[in-house]
Symmetry: C2
Subunit: 298 residues, 2 copies
């Protein structure tokens, strides 16, 4: 991790950034996908894996499958951005376009996987995927052994479940802070309600954490058990954090990563004097969006 | 290294980026400084090291000294940006402000080092510093063993001397391409003239490579011997490359890194079908400058 002068000075905490936006494919998703692919039997590897995603998970599965020499088919809604589709194809995965939206692509992918007896790789609802993301918790603790708290953005909950699972076993006094955009705090509302409920959702810069998790996801009980504190941030705070990291760290980060930064700033005073890790989970932001967020007129 | 889809498609070469802008302190300078500091005797380490720089070299020396537990004093012209001075101080180095410009700071630093019998760490005119930068050549070859060419920006020549020295020993058929901004091609003009000459210089986005090297620098004969091809690029090409990397790789890079990218694009056709490494040497770009370069109106 790298010490952040700007965030440390503005919060009074000693802030370390886990720069996972530097990861291959531009996000942490490769970790879970690679652990999953490497855990398969020879027969499963030969048959190839299936996933559905237009974003970071699709890139992660394609890259992991390439490393492991396993065929991969990624189901993508036909409305997906051609650039992202080309990125997945360039990594060697077979892209299969599905008419309809993301949910259609996912349902089709699952059906095909079941029919052909192939492994479907979920982006979060899979213990091997969660364990792969957990390697981030291991690295954070190796790099800064006396952490008091970690800030992690939550979508499907796979990332924070993996990190928290490791930290709760190895260093249970580390405070796990779950971070959400106000416009899409679905798992947070589930935690409050104690069960999966309908949560209204609005567009958010944190597109990588948006969308409802599967109601039976194994990440839900993990999040209920392991998340110690929660923070919710506005779209303006997310945009400001993208700009702050560009200005102070010379790094582009995507909205989901900025949710963790914005949450630290919002929660700041409570962590004064503490040693805090902030996970920058990805950098795959639309260039036009990034450019307008950092524009002087903004 | 990471394969670049955008640069590969636009040049017809297979292009790999060495993402050294992700390095601690935001540039490669840490490598040479760390090798130098670690090569010192116990007595030299105890006495502490001295350097002069407001930029990447100052950060690199401060960080390396901190890792090695060696005191460091960095001489800085009083006109230097307060943010950069704070960055160096935050790494634990003692900042000593000097009235006058960068040359004044350097001369003062050298005089003090000589008087106090301390080691002065040059940014490029030092075999241990050059060897440290050479670790980049080793890594590039480990990561992509069948490289045909590497593109490296040249200022004082320490970076390209280190990389070329390694590659010429281990894989002499790799073409070493030296890259310069048209506004400051000093070592290139020396190579053409066969000796150190006065070269007019104009402001450039590649501030990290600007300024005249010492006329007796040991990098000059290395560059004469090892650089196989040279490319010169305009300010517009440098700016376009900063924008291209932001758009296609979601990364901020500084002008000196963009010189290598722009040079590949300019030389493109000659490398069609080849496997090419491009060194992205740093990301420490002024935020306002970056913002205006990627603005839509630009």
């Amino acid at each position: 991790m790298t010490w952040s002068q700007a965030l440390s000075e503005s919060t009074g905490a000693t802030v370390f950034l886990k720069n996972e936006h530097f990861q291959h494919t531009g996000s942490f998703k490769l970790r879970g996908a690679l652990n999953k692919v490497l855990s398969l039997s020879s027969r499963e590897k030969e048959k190839g894996v299936i996933a559905a995603s237009t974003g970071n998970h699709g890139l992660g599965v394609a890259y992991a499958a390439r490393i492991a020499g396993v065929p991969a088919a990624i189901y993508v809604p036909e409305t997906a951005s051609p650039i992202k589709v080309r990125g997945i194809a360039a990594l060697g995965a077979e892209v299969r376009l599905v008419s309809g939206d993301c949910l259609e692509a996912e349902l089709t992918a699952k059906k095909v996987a079941a029919t052909q007896d192939q492994v479907f790789i979920s982006p979060y609802n899979d213990i091997d995927v969660i364990a792969g993301q957990g390697t981030l918790g291991k690295e954070m603790l190796e790099q800064v052994s006396d952490l008091d708290a970690v800030f992690v953005s939550v979508g499907g909950g796979g990332l924070i479940s993996g990190i928290a699972g490791y930290l709760k076993a190895m260093k249970p006094n580390v405070t796990i802070v779950g971070c959400w955009p106000k416009n899409s705090p679905i798992l947070l509302e589930w935690i409050k309600a104690g069960r999966a409920i309908d949560v209204p959702e609005f567009p958010t810069l944190s597109d990588a954490t948006s969308g409802s998790p599967e109601t039976d996801t194994i990440t839900f009980p993990y999040c209920q058990k392991w998340i110690d504190e929660t923070v919710v941030v506005s779209e303006e705070e997310i945009g400001d954090s993208i700009r702050l990291i560009a200005e102070s760290e010379s790094s582009m980060i995507e909205g989901s990563a900025a949710v963790a930064v914005a949450s630290l700033i919002r929660a700041g005073k409570a962590f004064r004097g503490k040693r805090v890790g902030v996970l920058l989970c990805g950098r795959n932001i639309d260039f036009g969006k990034f450019r307008s967020l950092i524009a002087p007129s903004h």
